[in-house]
Structures are given as C-alpha cells and as structure tokens.
Symmetry: C2
Subunit: 220 residues, 2 copies
C-alpha cells in the first residue's frame, strides 16, 4: 500500500524532486517486496505512480541502481522499526517480548518490507552484500544486547548470532508464511494472529529464558 504522499505542487523545486524520488522508492519497495524484482517492470511502477518510465530513469540510470536505492531505504526503515525496541525499558524476557511484538506489528502492517529483505536474499550478489552492510550496525547492537543478557544469566547461553537468526526466522515465518499457515489449517485472520503471537511468545520464552529465571519472567 502506497503511503499518502505530499502534493507535488508544493514547496521548492529541490523539495519536490525529493518528494518524487520518495514516492518512487515507496512504490518500488512495495512492489519489489510483494511481487519480486523481476516481476515488476519499470512501466508497472511508472503507471502506478502516474508518470512515465523515463521519469524513473531520470532519477536513477538503471533499474539495478534503483534497486540499490530501494535497498538502502528498506534497511533504514527496518532499523527505524526495530532499533527502538532495543532501547526500550525493561530487561531480559520483557525486552525480547517487546521486540517480538514489534516484528509482528511490522509483519502485519508492512509485510512488503520483510518480503523485500527475503527477495534481496534470493537475488544474491551485490544486492545481498549491500543490505548486509546496511544492517550491520543494528545487528551488532542486537548481538551485543543478547551477549549482555547471557552474561547476566537472564537468557540461556548460546551463540548470540544464531539466537538472533532463530528468533528472526521463527517470528518472520510465523508472521509472514501465510501459505504455510493455511496449509496447517490456520487462516490468517487478525484474531488468529493474536493467538499465534501468544503461542510464539511462549515458544520463544521456553527456548530462550534461562531456567532459573522462568518463574520471574513468565509470559502472559
């Protein structure tokens, strides 16, 4: 879903240019994330934006360069969505819980954002390197956080990187793998999503929380 955009008839020229580029990036992120890079033509993007394909190619010299710009934008938005959770109040399990809630919120409200990251992984090559580089600071922060929690014995000791991947793909899967959910007889309604989140939290809780802290940090 395209975000509401500022009217193109206001502001200075530079501002309007930035606004146009923003609109293009937003629509491209949405389309690439839901339909896939190769399945979306520049003409598709253009017609959705009510402009011509050449207008897009004016701002970026090729579709591939546009993709790079979309990658940067997606990484930025992801960091904005998630990074705050690491700074929130609380400790141990309650903080993990807030991160999971955030991922669910993003998966429900911005599924194209998470789908886009997946798409980039599949494309591979330079695109993957770019998103990896873009997310590096966040990943560093997150693993450092996990390590601290382990040091203080609040969550079970294990490889923090793998823990991050496991938690990420578990949550992402439960939140986005709609077809698989359907296959196991779970219709992705709002109500079922709430249930899934609760079940998942208890799943993660059991997996992550150090035994001696279980009683102190029970999931709701």
């Amino acid at each position: 879903m395209a975000l509401a955009v500022t009217s193109p008839t206001k502001g200075t020229r530079a501002a309007r240019t930035r606004a146009t580029e923003d609109r293009i990036l937003a629509v491209a992120l949405d389309s690439f994330g839901t339909k896939g890079f190769d399945s979306v033509s520049l003409d598709d993007l253009a017609s959705e934006l009510g402009i011509t394909k050449q207008a897009i190619l004016y701002h970026w010299p090729s579709k591939r360069v546009l993709l790079d710009a979309v990658i940067d934008r997606a990484a930025l938005e992801l960091i904005i969505e998630f990074d705050g959770a690491l700074s929130e109040d609380g400790w141990g399990w309650s903080r993990v819980e807030s991160v999971v809630r955030r991922i669910f919120r993003v998966a429900m409200r911005r599924p194209e954002l998470l789908g886009f990251i997946r798409e980039i992984s599949r494309i591979g090559g330079d695109a993957s390197l770019r998103v990896t580089a873009d997310l590096e600071p966040f990943v560093t922060r997150a693993t450092a956080y996990f390590e601290r929690e382990m040091d203080e014995g609040r969550i079970r000791r294990c490889d923090p990187g793998l823990l991050l991947v496991s938690a990420y793909s578990t949550v992402l899967g439960a939140a986005t793998e709609v077809e698989v959910l359907r296959a196991v007889g779970i219709e992705p309604t709002l109500r079922s999503t709430v249930i899934r989140r609760r079940e998942l939290l208890s799943f993660l809780h059991a997996a992550m929380v150090a035994p001696e802290f279980v009683r102190l940090q029970a999931p709701r």
Copy 2:
C-alpha cells in the same frame, strides 16, 4: 544442479517421453526455486536442456501449466524427503531430532526444493492453493503425530499447527537464510552448518520438550 539423466536414445517411445518430461521438470524446479518463476524464461530452460522452447510447450500448453506440474513434483519430492522421518523409530524428542536433521539435509543438498516452496508462496493464488492441497496429507500426519506426543506428555502442550509452523520456519530459516546468517557474521560453511544444527536442536529442545521429560531426552 541438474540430475544425471537417462540417455534419450534408450527404451520405448513412451519411456523416452517420460524421461524428457522428467528432465524438463527437474531443470524447471531447480531454476524456479533458485531464480524465481518470472526470472526464468522458457528459452532459458530450453537452452539449459539442449532443446527448443517449443519442445517444452509441446508437453505443457503454457508456462503456467508447466508450473503446476513442477508444483506437483516438488510436493511429491518434499513428502518423500520428510515423510519417512515420521515413520522412523524412536519417540518424543529423538524423533523431532531426526526430522530436524532431515530438513537440514534437504536444505543443504536440495536448497532449490525449499526455495521453490517459498517462491510459490510468494506467487500466491492458484499456485499456493495447489501446493497446499498437495501437502495436505503430510501436514495431517505431522500434526496428528504432534498431538499424540502432547497427549502422552512428551512434548509441551500447544497448538500443533503453530508448533509445526514454528519448527518449520525456524529450521528452514536457520538452514536457508544464508544472507541473514552472513549479516550476523556466520559464514555458511559445512562446519558452521553442523554447529548451527546443534545449536538449533538445543533451541528447539528447550522450546518443545515438556519440563518433566528434559532429563530423559537431553540433546547431545
């Protein structure tokens, strides 16, 4: 990687036809699974097979119908790969462990197979319905198995469908999400895969096994 194929100059005509269709399906599954449906043209497939695109269109009237055939084949192969694990010896945790080991083995040896299922989910529509229908018997068996284990108190009680999804996406993620792994500083070598599998098993063990059984079913 295309499998070794029987020479097209042997056997009866019907057999050779079947062999050709098999080769086409194998290459199509590989290509669609790794590059995506829209990123692979019929000409790409044909040239990889050393035939012409029209030869493919002789066996299936359109690319979309070919996709349906590939879906059926992928589902069949998936079931063959996984279903055996449900019939293996052992009970409780040891059986879960054997399923996880199987998924890892498939993810390492046939990444295109798992990638293809993801791709189909993204395409959505009739394609998703088809793969869902194809996998239904297996899913039924798996959830029934989980339910039995819960009834007997060997694994923690929860929604069996969600447990399946969680375990599926966790393992699939840890096994296939190569770029995410790279992002958190884990190079996907053989050695690291073994480590990841072990870590993941302990993660799943903690999450799934009922507390009173933990001592009896410790992960290695």
